[in-house]
């Protein structure tokens, strides 16, 4: 293995690299979800019944599972983003190393709270 490849591998096995990947993928998926979300809410333009009939579609377990995944992505993107803001805007503190764990924990808690309430 060349030095460059070894270096690449070491950089990518770091938790901060995974935080970067999670932030990118969650951001991308949330951007793709937004038009769908806005479309769904726009159903209310045709009256309450139109929105209601869409919402009854969301009762299916698969949709609830997808919703939970989106909530998890949103919470992860927010927690990871707050971590980045703290790294960039606040002076360095030792506890900043623990921010990754805090961000991961907070997003899992939000996802779980949603799942427990939605089922």
């Amino acid at each position: 293995m060349s030095a460059a490849m070894r270096n690449d591998y070491r950089a990518r096995s770091h938790p901060a690299y995974w935080a970067f990947i999670v932030h990118r993928i969650s951001g991308l998926l949330l951007s793709l979800f937004l038009p769908l979300h806005f479309w769904a809410l726009g159903q209310a333009l045709q009256g309450e019944a139109a929105l209601e009939s869409f919402l009854r579609w969301t009762d299916s377990p698969l949709v609830k599972l997808a919703e939970t995944a989106i909530v998890l992505l949103l919470a992860a993107h927010m927690a990871g983003g707050v971590r980045l803001l703290m790294l960039e805007f606040l002076a360095w503190r030792d506890w900043q190393k623990s921010l990754l764990a805090v961000a991961a924990g907070a997003s899992l808690a939000a996802g779980l709270a949603f799942l427990l309430n939605v089922v």
Partner: protein, 112 residues
Amino acid sequence: MNVRNLVLLWAAQRYSAMVLALCVLVHLATMIYAVRSGLSAEEILGRTRGNAGWAAFYALFVAAVAVHAPIGLRNILSETLGWRGRSLDVAVAAVGIALALWGLRAVWAVYA
């Protein structure tokens, strides 16, 4: 894009993120609370129709996301896919405008 504009994009991304962090916290709390007894159009519209406070909140949310998401997409498209130059800037600006208009339409739908 020149360095000055890149710095402006960087700043816009961070300041919109600060607004979004607060909006998302409120959104997550509202969602987790709202789904407790199942979602219904009556319950959602009962909360939002004619409520200027919620409408202002969601309009701010949409404005912040219409700034934030296109800049993030621009970073991904340029760094991961290697798309650079004016065509990229025009494309992501169009995404931002579309998100803003489409989002405000949704805000209006649940307010009016």
